[in-house]
């Protein structure tokens, strides 16, 4: 008995909570001992055994009562009543499996979609970037709204000025746009994505290399020693994680580089695009004349400096240095905006609005679900009013009844939450494959502790919200009437009906918001995908071939290969036309500086003089279906030994011959003002196609015949009669028949490639449409519930009306009027809310306004239709009321 008091107390509490039976048994025994001793005492006083026993128990005050009092002082006594409520609630739910199933399913849908979308929001928007002290990292850029292609970049003189003159950054680093390298030596040639980074890039991010070191400033200098840093993935895949990798040579585009470092496996390059596999020094030229313009700048703020302050500092530098940029920049610098934003905001910028839109959409779905459950419970309230009246009469305080209702709601929402969580796991797997790739952290999307906590909170909230209305109804004064009259009246009371109608109206309004948003996104998406790319993407197969430099080093070798390939694949069964190119029709090709013969040469590095140049084979225009507007396309005449010719597109004509001069016969100077300058004569003008992003305008373009400007990188384009996929194996065997060591890479249909570009919009549209459909169904169920309850409540009245001569059509009108009133009220409330909320998605819409009247109109029609359909069943029931039955029931 010398145990410390608190330890003993802990033991007792533990036993009370977890060894309930043993504790009860001991209490029983303890009291029995008391009664026995007392009985003996009473017998000794001269009572009969029977009397003695009775007296002992009376004196104690009733064994069961004492037990109850002991239980009441026990630790966690309140849990007992909760458990009791829960057990009773469970029994009630089990007694109504239909109600329970509908409610749990509804909540599971609402909660599951919330969990799944939240897990994406959490991983993409809420998690910190995987760098040291990421809150201080910013992305600084200049925006050139007047530019043709890249509208957001930092010219390197500006980067140098920022780097040398700023007072706000503790470090500032730059990368270029990155490009593909062919990597040779140590295994088969490969095309990999590479990125030029300044020497301090990794230290600004605060990333330590897994092996080796970062670039030195010596390496980060034009003409400095060539070095490379490998991504962990490339080190593993190509070098099998060779521990002696440092110092080994690596051939990038036939240039010998030395491997100086390897990045850790956890490293992610800050991009919303593809991850680079190899890094090389940026080696920005220090002299403005041979500039590379397109830099991306990432900087680390000094402690206490905000992005806005940094912006002010940089703009002061810009005001001194921008005028010093080369003259041709004049056109660009008429309008320049500087922006410094946190790196996190920059990387998530394109997905933030869609993700919050989805989050809002699922929140609406959950709200509608809760309103439905509340309504269902209100209907059931009528059935349970007798039970509550009885319990109330027996002395249960209303607070206890309210707690019972709340417990039941939370039970329901917990079950819904659990089912929703299971659905959420599945949904996350689905989301991970649907979410457009390239979003940083997307591989991290999973249901983790945070998402779990979110689900629990949402479930509890849903329970509280959906339990609120029935509790409100409980406190209406009519409960007393119900007790007194014993009539089932509670849920039919005026305030109750108002509550139910209000819920249905709210559901209609919420569904309208979702439907309009879904409609707008759908319309915008259809607009976007219906934009004519300028060529026919259907039944078009694309593939890439890279000719190894050692085997195909001379133009004749390359031409021989391409003409043989073209002959073979054109003859394949199912192929209507075949063509070769140096770039995909939906991608940018390399730029060349061009001038027109007989005009002054364009300023050095004038961006408007840079025009995409491609080599294409005979058949290219026919294969893509690009019309030749004047002159001719390429054919057999254009060989290596004939005059150099070019086809230009309409945009080129618009830019270089704005005065309506006939371009045919004019000469373009390619690589103007360099030793490589060549003149080619324009023989044809083609229509323009949209190359970057369907939302963008077409760019100028020059085509050369493949035979006159062959390349080792070849894009194969096949126009097929039907689905092009079956042709792939034939294509592959034709390539191998020419050279059995040549791989065919990046085989894809044009439809898939274009779909990939709009994958983000497609995903958001599909998801919001799905949620809107859910909302519509739920709102329909809600209206059905209210109307069918109204009919059941007024069966008697309807019977009397019919007995007094009302026509079926009058009854129908009565019900429909009620229904339309609900829908109309919902729409009236919904319109302003919708107008306010669709504004947030306005920036994501393409070719359709946020308050598009057609979409609003269509949604109104859909909601009214669904509302009427939902009323149809109860309305028919009302029309078929037999007055005799209805009256006899009274």
């Amino acid at each position: 008995m010398r145990t410390e008091g608190w330890m003993n107390a802990l033991r007792v509490k533990w036993r009370v909570l977890f060894c309930r039976e043993a504790v009860e048994r001991e209490l029983d025994e303890e009291l029995r001992y008391h009664v026995e001793r007392k009985t003996e005492e009473n017998i000794a006083k001269g009572m009969t055994p029977e009397e003695a026993w009775r007296a002992a128990r009376i004196e104690l005050g009733g064994v069961e009562q004492v037990k109850e009092q002991v239980r009441a002082v026990r630790a966690g006594a309140w849990m007992g009543t909760v458990m009791q409520d829960a057990r009773f609630g469970l029994r009630m739910l089990k007694k109504n499996p239909g109600f329970t199933a509908v409610a749990v399913l509804t909540l599971a849908l609402g909660i599951g979609t919330n969990t799944a979308i939240f897990s994406v929001v959490d991983a993409v928007l809420l998690k910190l970037l995987p760098y040291k002290d990421p809150a201080h990292l910013v992305w600084a850029t200049l925006q050139f709204p007047k530019a043709d292609m890249h509208r957001s970049f930092v010219p390197h003189p500006t980067y140098f000025a920022w780097r040398d003159q700023n007072d706000v950054f503790s470090g500032i680093a730059a990368t270029n746009l990155g490009r593909e390298f062919t990597i040779t030596g140590a295994g088969a040639p490969e095309r990999i994505r590479g990125m030029g980074v300044s020497a301090n890039f990794f230290s600004v991010l605060g990333v330590d290399l897994a092996r080796g070191r970062s670039f030195t400033s010596e390496e980060d200098r034009q003409g400095g020693p060539r070095a490379a840093i490998l991504s962990y993935g490339l080190w593993q895949s190509r070098y099998a994680g060779d521990p002696r990798i440092l110092g080994r040579p690596i051939m990038l585009d036939d240039k010998d580089c030395s491997i100086v470092g390897v990045l850790p496996g956890s490293f992610q390059f800050p991009t919303s695009g593809n991850q680079p596999q190899v890094f090389v020094p940026l080696a920005a030229p220090s002299d403005a004349s041979s500039a590379i313009w397109y830099l991306t700048v990432i900087a680390r703020l000094r402690p206490g400096v905000t992005p806005a302050q940094a912006e002010v500092d940089l703009s002061l530098i810009d005001s001194r240095t921008l005028p010093l940029l080369p003259k041709f920049f004049g056109r660009y610098t008429q309008e320049v905006h500087l922006s410094v934003v946190s790196l996190h905001d920059h990387l998530t910028g394109s997905v933030r609005a869609p993700l919050w839109t989805l989050m809002a959409a699922v929140a609406f779905v959950l709200m509608i679900a809760c309103a439905n459950i509340a309504n269902l419970q209100l209907s059931r309230g009528s059935v349970r009013s007798r039970e509550f009246a009885l319990r109330s009469a027996l002395g249960a305080p209303r607070s206890r009844l309210a707690r019972q209702l709340l417990t039941e709601s939370i039970l329901l929402s917990s079950m819904g939450g659990l089912a929703g969580l299971l659905g959420g796991f599945w949904g996350v797997v689905l989301l991970r494959s649907f979410v457009p790739r390239g979003v940083l952290n997307v591989q991290d999307v999973r249901i983790d502790a945070v998402a779990l906590a979110f689900t629990i909170v949402v479930s509890a909230l849903a329970g509280a919200v959906s339990g609120f209305a029935p509790i409100l109804a409980l406190f209406s004064p009519n409960l007393n009437d119900a007790i007194q009259t014993g009539r089932v009246q509670v849920a039919g009371s005026r305030s109750n009906t108002f509550l139910r109608n209000l819920l249905a109206v709210a559901e209609v309004a919420a569904a309208m918001v979702l439907l309009v948003a879904a409609g707008l996104l759908l319309k915008s998406f259809l607009r976007l995908t219906n934009v004519s790319a300028g060529f026919d993407p259907h039944n078009l197969l694309t593939a890439q071939i890279f000719l190894p430099n050692d085997k195909y080093s001379t133009p004749p070798q390359q031409t021989a290969f391409s003409s043989q390939l073209l002959d073979r694949i054109s003859a394949l069964p199912g192929v209507r036309a075949a063509g070769l190119s140096t770039s995909l029709p939906n991608e940018l090709s390399r730029d060349m500086r061009m001038g027109i013969e007989g005009r002054p040469a364009p300023a050095l590095n004038d961006p408007t003089a840079s025009v995409p140049l491609d080599s294409v084979s005979d058949g290219y225009f026919r294969t893509l279906g690009i019309p030749i507007l004047s002159g001719r396309g390429f054919d057999d005449r254009d060989g290596p030994n004939t005059a150099n010719v070019a086809v230009v597109n309409q945009e080129f004509v618009r830019r270089f011959f704005p005065d309506g001069e006939n371009p045919l016969g004019k000469h373009i100077l390619i690589a103007v003002d360099t030793p490589d300058q060549t003149a080619i004569s324009i023989v044809g003008v083609s229509a323009a196609i949209r190359r970057v992003g369907l939302g963008d305008k077409p760019l100028p373009q020059v085509f050369q015949p493949f035979a006159q400007s062959p390349s080792t990188g070849i894009i194969v384009l096949l126009r097929t009669a039907s689905d092009p996929r079956p042709v792939v194996s034939a294509l592959r065997s034709q390539v191998l028949a020419i050279d059995e060591e040549l791989p065919l890479s990046d085989v894809a249909t044009m439809d898939d490639l274009l779909a990939g570009e709009t994958a983000g919009q497609r995903f958001e549209t599909a998801a919001v449409d799905l949620f809107a459909a859910l909302a519509l169904i739920l709102a329909g169920v809600g209206i059905y519930g209210v109307i069918s309850y109204m009919v059941s409540q007024r069966t008697h009245e309807i019977g009397v009306r019919i007995a007094l001569g009302a026509q079926r059509s009058d009854v129908l009108r009565l019900v429909m009027k009620e229904c339309l009133a609900l829908v109309a009220a919902g729409l009236a409330i919904g319109v302003p809310i919708t107008l306010a909320s669709t504004r947030i998605i306005a920036s994501e819409l393409f070719g359709v306004g946020a308050s598009d009247p057609w979409t609003f109109g269509a949604v109104v029609v859909v909601i009214v239709t669904v509302g009427l359909a939902a009323c149809w069943i109860p309305a028919r029931r009302a029309m078929n009321v037999d007055p005799m039955v209805a009256l006899r029931y009274e």
Binding site: A9, Y33, L60, V73
Partner: protein, 111 residues
């Protein structure tokens, strides 16, 4: 019906602690001893003893143990813990102060 309404609120705890400070005892015996020492003036009903005992046990002031009584029957015996002894001293002090204050008030000379 078994609330110790005739006892000053909270004094039952003090009485139980004091009785158990003398020796470990079972519930029945505690009831008997209470009547005995107070000369039947403090009428705590037997039924009110048990909730009070269980409460004290959960607070860690007393501990229980099943033991065999003198006439060979199992009964639950309660004993004071060290924390209980401290509590007893504190409550006894309180009681002394309170009763002294009350008696001073009661004994005020009426003028």
């Amino acid at each position: 019906m078994s609330k110790p309404s005739d006892l000053v609120q909270g004094t039952l705890d003090l009485l139980l602690l004091k009785i158990l400070a003398l020796e470990p005892m079972n519930g029945f015996a505690i009831g008997q001893r209470l009547r005995q020492v107070s000369g039947d003036i403090l009428q705590a009903s037997d039924g009110s003893l048990y909730p009070a005992l269980h409460k004290l046990e959960q607070r860690g002031w007393i501990a229980s143990e099943w033991k065999t009584t003198e006439n060979n029957r199992r009964a639950k015996f309660y004993a004071l813990t060290r924390a209980g002894r401290r509590q007893l001293e504190k409550e006894a002090d309180n009681w002394d102060r309170l009763s002294a204050a009350i008696s001073r008030v009661v004994n005020l000379e009426e003028t």
